[in-house]
């Protein structure tokens, strides 16, 4: 498959955005998943609802809200601009949008994994002297690796496919913010663009299959490591 330069750009940008989306959402997702799985606190259900929000709202609305918050005149946008950080109309914003859209998926995968960890093992670690952080790092974390992996795959796949929030927040500037889905969208807007759109669609697919294959392979190794298989 011969890709045109803009197509290459879109592919590389999509990959960059997706990787970053996963990287930035993972630590927070771990924290939130742990809170939801293991702690009781007032407002827990509300936090859970908030996490699900990006799923419920049409992506364009999420993008619009992001634009309002992080745009030139947005509350956060102004502050970040002072620190020299631009998000709107920038690939970093695409990563943020993708991260937010994938967040509920990542959190849920990790949360399910944490809920499946036998608290008795964590207790055993405690009696061996491990404090809460060590218990998490040495026992919980390795045991939830399959869940984290699942979360990463979901988050990555979602980021590869995210379109509505991204195009609304960072527009569709070739070479700068045009991801694969935006490129496909633009192609589908004019008659005769289907063939090119199909090419890019297949490209997405290849990336997705690659990512899933990789994750299945990793999952198998992890499952062996933690004695599940």
């Amino acid at each position: 498959m011969n890709l045109r330069p803009e197509e290459w750009d879109a592919l590389l940008l999509s990959l960059k955005v997706s990787v970053w989306a996963v990287v930035i959402s993972l630590p927070l997702a771990l924290l939130v998943a742990w809170l939801l799985a293991r702690r009781e606190f007032p407002g827990k259900a509300l936090l859970s609802a908030l996490v699900h929000l990006p799923l419920v709202l049409p992506p364009v609305v999420t993008g619009y809200l992001l634009l309002l918050a992080f745009g030139r005149n947005g509350v956060f946008g102004k502050v970040l601009a002072d620190w020299g950080i631009t998000l709107a109309f920038h690939w970093t914003g695409a990563a943020l949008a993708a991260a937010i859209m994938g967040f509920p998926l990542v959190v849920r995968a990790i949360r399910l994994a944490i809920e499946a960890v036998d608290p008795k093992l964590e207790q055993a670690a405690e009696t061996l002297g491990a404090g809460r952080l060590h218990v998490f790092a040495l026992v919980t974390l390795p045991l939830i690796l399959p869940g984290i992996l699942a979360g990463v795959v979901l988050g990555f796949a979602k980021a590869m496919g995210e379109f509505g929030a991204t195009i609304t927040f960072v527009a569709n500037i070739p070479g700068q913010t045009q991801t694969l889905p935006s490129a496909i969208y633009a192609l589908l807007q004019v008659p005769g663009g289907e063939a090119a759109a199909l090419r890019l669609g297949i490209l997405s697919l290849v990336v997705a299959i690659g990512a899933v294959l990789l994750s299945e392979w990793l999952a198998r190794r992890v499952a062996e490591r933690i004695g599940r298989k």
């Binding site: 364009v60 619009y64 634009l67 309002l68 745009g71 030139r72 005149n73 947005g74 709107a88 109309f89 195009i167 609304t168 527009a171 569709n172 500037i173 070739p174 070479g175 700068q176 913010t177 045009q178 969208y185 633009a186 192609l187 589908l188 807007q189 004019v190 008659p191 005769g192 663009g193």
Partner: protein
């Protein structure tokens, strides 16, 4: 960094791409919906030039003083046509009965009648010929006019109201009827410079778009030339 960044309505993509290819200067175009582009410009999008498919959003931007005063100008125009799957016989007169016969229980594909420009124009026409209330229950509204065209091409809908430019490029549809342009607002694509981003490169590119060569491209793609007021 490109010389010029243009935010343009997605339906202009083919023609604009051809125009950009013939321009000696680096131009990038970000395609999107008109409302989306307007909001982005209001939030400081890095656009030097905008070309929308809808005058209302340009008005909206002007109210917010987001555009360079007096820079607004209509680039090209377009026409509405009634289409059917290829092979359908032309309609001499789109009467209620004739349309219903064609629909045969199916739906009339159209852009969203309260948002997508092509839908708005289509609605105006239907209202003008007093068929609006009759056909409201039989519409299939699309997110964008391309989807409406797709439905007709795939024979999901026996009829559709789309731009002449779209209909021309799609082999799977035939134009059944040219909608008289006096029965709806004039279909124009206004272009304007974004306030705070004025630069000569953008001005040069804007002028280039008015050049006969580019206007030819638009004509070939089924758009309509406008009398330029330069």
């Amino acid at each position: 960094q490109p010389d010029v960044t243009v935010f343009a309505a997605a339906s202009l993509r083919d023609a604009l791409e051809e125009a950009v290819a013939g321009y000696e200067g680096q131009v990038v175009v970000s395609y999107g919906g008109s409302g989306q582009i307007a909001r982005q410009v209001a939030q400081g999008a890095p656009a030097d030039l905008i070309i929308l498919a809808n005058e209302a959003w340009v008005d909206w931007l002007e109210e917010r003083e987001a555009l360079v005063a007096q820079s607004r100008n209509d680039l090209v125009g377009n026409r509405l046509v009634l289409v059917g799957p290829s092979g359908s016989a032309p309609l001499s007169e789109p009467t209620k009965e004739a349309l219903f016969e064609r629909l045969d229980g199916g739906r009339l594909a159209i852009g969203q009648v309260d948002g997508v420009p092509a839908g708005i124009y289509g609605r105006q026409w239907l209202e003008a010929v007093e068929l609006w209330s009759v056909f409201t229950p039989h519409l299939a509204q699309a997110e964008n006019v391309r989807a409406a065209l797709l439905w007709v091409a795939r024979e999901e809908a026996p009829l559709g109201i789309v731009y002449a430019s779209d209909a021309q490029a799609e082999a799977s549809v035939d134009v059944l009827y040219d909608i008289p342009s006096n029965l709806h607002d004039e279909i124009v694509y206004p272009m304007a410079m974004v306030a705070g981003r004025e630069n000569t490169q953008a001005e040069r590119f804007a002028l280039y778009l008015y050049s006969p060569a580019v206007q030819d491209i638009f004509l070939q793609q089924g758009f309509m030339a406008l009398e330029t007021e330069q």
